[in-house]
Symmetry: D2
Subunit: 353 residues, 4 copies
């Protein structure tokens, strides 16, 4: 298979680091350049000692981000930059003919006004919004295949959309009243020198944040609205917990058909199982749990897998769905590589576990 030259802009954060790891060890991608203002001049081995055994780690040196140079070096560019900044790079890189996979929020929404509402600044390149494909392969695989601009989904959205979309599409749950309660590891906050994310401020601590209007709501609701064919508003509460990696989401959903009592619950559970089987049985990175198993982040961290389990509650008539993923893999860099694999015609699981 013909390999592809790839580069990463903004490779010194946590998702950048994981992208480096995945691409250094990818069978078909050829990592040729990484950029970072703060690490410019240093080799990969110096910035990330854990990759120092890889031969390329001594030869690839961080550069400052120069679009013109990058466009001559690589065919496909990953942007691991803060929102707002990513768009500034995407525009010239696309013009120069590169394919862009953006891990920021800049191209995840269809509507620049919603972006402004949630991100508190004007969208830097609204004209591109219509061209971007939301990089959730389980939903948009075909469109990813032919796109030049992938907006790779956020970590929380992935953990919510994968379990909810099939149920909405199948008409099994009401699109109103959805509640998503999530817990995330601290890498989700990025490698930022802020007191709030110091070891001693996070260790032995659990706390909600961004209540009730976290930015990720915008893309979650847009995607759920598309699935429901009507506007969907959800309740979402993220919590910070003292683990490095992993997101656990617990969803509270209302079945369309009432399910009270143990018979009704068993019937609903069967319908949900069939719906998920239908949606995901051939998906390499969605794992449906059966029996007594419930998701546990330790079973997905280090992998690109999203685990899903569900319980129909005979007492309340409600459906509880739980998911677990690695926020830096299926929630960020792993999913971006999955999109790259699709887009480049590589086996979808290449370089991923």
């Amino acid at each position: 298979m013909k390999s592809k030259k790839v580069a990463i802009v903004g490779a010194s954060g946590y998702s950048g680091e994981v992208l480096v790891q995945l691409l250094l060890n990818h069978p078909y991608a050829d990592l040729v350049a990484v950029t970072s203002r703060q690490s410019a001049g240093q080799t990969l081995a110096e910035v990330f000692p854990r990759f120092a055994s890889h031969p390329k780690s001594k030869t690839i040196r961080f550069s400052g981000p120069d679009v013109a140079v990058l466009a001559t070096q690589a065919d496909l560019i990953f942007l691991a930059l803060p929102h707002g900044v990513a768009a500034e790079y995407a525009v010239p890189l696309l013009e120069a003919g590169c394919t862009v996979i953006d891990l920021s929020a800049d191209f995840r929404l269809g509507d620049a006004a919603v972006y402004r509402d949630f991100y508190a600044h004007e969208h830097p390149a609204p004209a591109l919004l219509a061209k971007a494909v939301y990089g959730l392969p389980e939903v948009y695989r075909d469109r990813i295949r032919t796109s030049k601009l992938i907006a790779s989904p956020g970590c929380y959205p992935t953990s919510i959309l994968l379990p909810v979309i099939p149920l909405i599409k199948a008409g099994l749950i009401r699109p109103e009243g959805i509640i998503a309660d999530s817990m995330s590891g601290v890498t989700g906050a990025g490698r930022k020198a802020e007191v709030d994310y110091l070891f001693c401020e996070c260790n032995e601590s659990v706390r909600p944040y961004g209540v009730p209007k976290h930015r990720h709501l915008s893309e979650i609701e847009e995607q759920l609205s598309l699935a429901a064919n009507s506007p969907v508003t959800i309740q979402f509460t993220p919590h910070l917990i003292p683990v490095n990696r992993g997101i656990l989401t617990t969803l509270y959903l209302d079945p369309v058909a009432p399910c009270k009592g143990s018979e009704g619950a068993a019937h609903l559970a069967g319908q949900i199982a069939a719906c998920y089987q239908n949606a995901y049985e051939n998906e390499p990175f969605v794992r449906l749990l059966s029996g007594k198993a419930l998701p546990d982040t330790k079973n997905v961290v280090g992998t690109n897998v999203c685990e899903i389990a569900w319980r129909a509650d005979p007492r309340t008539g409600r459906l509880v769905v739980m998911s677990a993923e690695d926020n830096l893999l299926k929630g960020a860099s792993g999913q971006a590589v999955q999109s790259m694999n699709i887009l480049c015609g590589f086996p979808e699981t290449a370089g991923l576990v």
Copy 2:
């Protein structure tokens, strides 16, 4: 103030250990005996090195639990035993004239049939259920004052009942559709030698468990039903997170009056604030957070305080309430000592922070 002789039955677990700590340093309680089958014969200093600097730690020795002896030694007995076992001790201790504060689930419910449904065995002493007082001082302070048998509440129930009861009583939220999503530190599982609670099975892991019918639902629903004057069924999902101590609960509640839009939300938030002020402004162990502050377990661990914050969501019309407590203090031993203080006529905050 006249001191009281107290003893602890089953003092080698986590809540027993915290009881020991509180009672060794209590200004009016005089800890005279501790029992534990597995630690019998050892001194407090040997079993709990961290208390070894306390003079009593060298003189108080664990004994096997002998009711006749205990009844001659102490006036008030704390039971820190597994459910089912606690009742076996409570019966003869009460008959011998002792006051009993039970930290197990054995006397928390009014109905032996509900107990059997949730705890999977016959209640060992159903006749006592009617005599027990549910030891939540913020709700039952007066009844605690004169009781001989206190059923100290569970850790999750405390974190749910304190924020929900005033809102139900004030008619501000509907008693239907309540959702409680909780995260607990691992001391909640007790000091049991099980693989599931090994360091490496809990560290870097988050997981739900006991879904959808955790045992604590029984006492939560009984108390909420009493507050609502009608049967209440709730949705409750506990999660295990890698901290030693602390519970964070996020509650999703439906306001009785719709609150959509920013004006409606602000109005509701004001009503909630007034309701909580009214209920808790003089409570020493409930802290209402204002401004941007949200609960964080690290701000309550080591204290008997339950923190509460709330947000009316203008987008969904729902009310989100969050609470934090130390599962071993306000969620167990601290609350039990608070009940003792009330019952014995000590200052309610004696020996507690």
Copy 3:
């Protein structure tokens, strides 16, 4: 007992926070002022939510550090400032008649040249060095009683000096060749917004640092030299481990009399035990472990106690001594309060556990 008005300069760091906690709850000290540039204007309750239940937390407001004002408010001032800065405050406060307990390194050394060698800048107030007393009560209790300027020891030094000084003074170990290998929790690095101390950089990580010439060597060696009556140079390696609080130090010492073989080792162990008994049996904050017990930071965190255990190795003839302390209590703020108690004529254990 007559209470004392006290203030804390630089109270927003970790040791400042613990000082606040100790002084708010102290039976004889009356905390009247706290300063912090970054928190100026906020109340204690706002900056440290965990103290919000204390009545004073709402009335005491952080101010910027104004020496003239402080001197009128308080008799005794704790300085919890970076080295170099502390001395600038100490000079005018002493001139204004205040007693100063300094938690920085500024007055721990007798020799300004050694200070310059280890701290890389000129000492800001060399004339005061001779007046300061090294605030290790177990060694300098009498001098502390009458001092106006206490240099409270560093966290690592305390964990090393308490176990080593009695053995040197008794002539049981050689002062040459001492090795101290220490592990510290992350609060030791202070509440500084640096990437190195982010949760994800410290969690699931252990690393040495400051090898081979950590600043604390200067005061350790000065104190050991005083004990030995001859210059002592030691080997010291600190390591950062993922806990909030606690220092564990393992010391490798050469007995003066050879101890090879099990008889020799038993004899030496007996001598060490006698020496420590003699030095510490009446010390409230040193705990000598016996039997199979070894130090564990979890048994001292939250207390002002330093645990010590020792093993004479019949195979190597060497003595291994291990100590554990809470770096923020016996290693910093607890010890400073212990000095205050001595100096003010309060019971030495007042406000400490």
Copy 4:
């Protein structure tokens, strides 16, 4: 390359789990069987959900350990069993013609009397001791190539022997007086349901253990004695720290030629660097750190690499060497796979990072 059929006996512990992971993903090894009494009957996917995405995880089922069956299934068997038990399986498997790589301590020593002294029972198969090769590839690569019985080294020994052996062989350090101070993650204690290894007993705790005569001393000293050509006795203190994986060892060594003063220290540091370069520059799994870099377990966890750094101390004349490894990879299963690669003629790095 011709693949090899391999099996794992005792695959349900932590090192067994990592072996499963490595062998499932190995390009040339073909995992055909896993055994475990407690997991017998379950599939790999059921026991280890994190491997559930691997196709083989659904087809490979744990069996009870039946030597006759295993010998027909696999050519090479890994034993991940407790010491004492491993030898019982090794004997018949070798007789049946299998190659055995044993991860226990059973064949690491040359002398059955030393084994009895350290492991407190008679060696179960003393005749095999002479046939076993100590599976440290950096030292015994040639002998591993032709061996039928590999005794894979312990975790602590690997972290000590790799840095020390070259220095002894080169005559740069004295073989007397070596001190090794190590910290290990809790997987080192195995997946045993014991209270000491519960989350809440290890979290926020650091503690030494096995002082002064840990079992691993026996193999460390035997290997160092072989390197020195004379009996070597060392001082070794292991500590348990709250991380899942990783060992950090700090070594205190005496240079043969005195190195006091900055010139002497620089000269020694250069000699050490040259010695290590000579020993390890072509070793794929030893990483020599330069400049200011010091080992950090987070840079090696998940890899088969051992990091080494050193400092000559001009103040004490001593050499401090620090190493870091993943106790389950280079300290156990990764190293065992490295031996397999050598022994089977696979590329030495196959299946390892």
